[in-house]
């Protein structure tokens, strides 16, 4: 029986959106935590640490996130782990986001003038105290716009989880389309929902950016 795209079908999409949001939050929170470590390692004094962070960031930025997902999903499957799509997608996106956020935040840490390091060093701060009280608070402030901007990417990237069968928004769209054969309507609705999720974030990022620039007067 062929259904037509109506309110009930739209509700199915909305249900699935909850999973998109959940996966976005997991990816962002996990990727943020790991990315923080990556940023610290990337800006550390310890050469090996820095080198490991560089390798990780470069590798991730040169790999399609889909390959990361396949490696996690099928790779771990090979070892006999039967992991649910949500977990596989979460792991893949955390690993992916950590590299990008780590690199964004490295830039923010490096943007703090070296005089700030020197002034606090002259005041007998340890390296960790310099980071904790002087550098990171300033870096955190300038990191807000690019970080929120990246969140938009995260939301959109969660759509790849559909490929391993997770029923998030994109996958739900495919199901509804298979049942209705009204691809224009269905995928317009899917796109609209992504837009509603992402646009406020984009606006927020832009507002933060403007505020930052206004605060940076002579």
């Amino acid at each position: 029986m062929i259904r037509s795209f109506g309110w009930n079908e739209f509700l199915i999409l909305l249900r699935a959106t909850e999973w998109t949001i959940l996966l976005s939050l997991i990816s962002f929170a996990g990727g943020g935590a790991l990315g923080f470590v990556v940023a610290l390692a990337r800006t550390a004094q310890h050469k090996t640490l820095r080198w490991i962070a560089v390798a990780y960031i470069e590798l991730m930025q040169a790999t399609p996130v889909l390959m990361v997902l396949f490696l996690v999903f099928y790779g771990l499957g090979l070892f006999g782990f039967d992991i649910p799509p949500l977990i596989a997608a979460s792991i893949a996106l955390i690993v992916y986001c950590a590299a990008f956020l780590g690199d964004i935040w490295r830039g923010c840490i490096e943007a703090i003038p070296k005089q700030q390091w020197e002034a606090s060093e002259a005041l007998a701060f340890s390296r960790w105290q310099q980071l904790r009280y002087v550098v990171l608070p300033q870096a955190a402030k300038i990191s807000l716009p690019p970080t929120v901007g990246f969140l938009v990417q995260v939301v959109k990237t969660t759509s790849i989880a559909s490929i391993i069968g997770m029923v998030e928004l994109t996958q739900a769209g495919r199901f509804v389309n298979n049942a209705t054969f009204q691809p224009i309507k269905v995928f317009s609705a899917v796109a609209l929902i992504y837009f509603v999720l992402c646009y406020p974030l984009s606006l927020w990022a832009q507002a933060l950016e403007r505020k930052m620039n206004a605060g940076r007067r002579a």
Binding site: A122, A124, S126, Y133
Partner: protein
């Protein structure tokens, strides 16, 4: 016993020798001005004294600490050495009070109440009590520099190092900062100051050191250095009116 003692210190950046066998002693309560041409190694010398730069050979002793390349020992030494920079380098995300209390709290683990009391004292000393809640960007350059001095004072240093602290300031603002420094000198603070303010050096510094080509070329009581220079290089430097 001198508060600061350098013995035959050498420092180079790659092939460039910047300090070439510098020896120098600063007695308690003494004010020492360091003058010399751009590139003669004045800033580098100050930065070596608190370990911001590492020396290649020689010996530096500050307030009873022998400078060594050990992080913990270095932090002990730095607690006794205040440093003020040309570009103020206040922490822009903190208020004046927080700028001043941060190091005592974080480094010396002083209780907040004690750190705040100290902050009020040092702010009064630099004449900026009313700016306690301001952020650095709300202050003039001269005010920022006075806060930077107060921030150093709050650590109760045994010696203060000043590196061209008025060079970025307009003449009127220069005056207010120099007044604060003169007040400190009168109060008995041991000070080393790299300066282009020859009048100030002559009037306030007990001893003036002329640096040339990474060496202490000539040094002595300020009055003598300025009125009766012995070396052609110092004579030329003073005559050139060069800052």
């Amino acid at each position: 016993m001198p508060v600061v003692a350098l013995e035959n210190v050498t420092k180079s950046f790659g092939a460039l020798t910047v300090l070439d066998g510098v020896s120098l002693a600063v007695e308690p309560g003494q004010v020492v001005a360091v003058i010399g041409r751009s590139g003669s190694g004045k800033s580098t010398m100050l930065r070596c004294i608190n370990g911001l730069e590492q020396i290649q050979s020689g010996r530096i002793e500050v307030a009873g600490h022998v400078l060594e390349n050990n992080k913990t020992a270095l932090r002990e030494l730095r607690q006794d050495v205040g440093m003020v920079f040309q570009s103020y380098n206040l922490f822009p995300h903190l208020t004046v009070e927080e700028n001043i209390t941060l190091a005592p709290r974080v480094v010396k683990k002083e209780p907040l109440a004690e750190a705040k009391a100290t902050a009020r004292n040092v702010l009064e000393q630099v004449g900026l009590s009313e700016k306690i809640d301001a952020y650095p960007e709300q202050l003039s350059g001269g005010q920022q520099q006075r806060v930077a001095i107060a921030r150093s004072l709050a650590m109760h240093p045994k010696v203060m190092l000043f590196d061209e602290v008025t060079s970025a300031l307009d003449p009127e603002l220069t005056e207010e900062v120099l007044r604060v420094m003169e007040g400190l000198a009168k109060a008995g603070m041991t000070m080393m100051l790299v300066t282009h303010e020859m009048g100030f050096a002559r009037r306030v510094a007990h001893v003036t050191v002329f640096m040339h080509k990474g060496k202490v070329w000539e040094s002595g009581p300020s009055e003598r250095i300025f009125s009766d220079p012995q070396t052609p290089e110092l004579r030329q430097f003073l005559a050139s009116g060069l800052k």
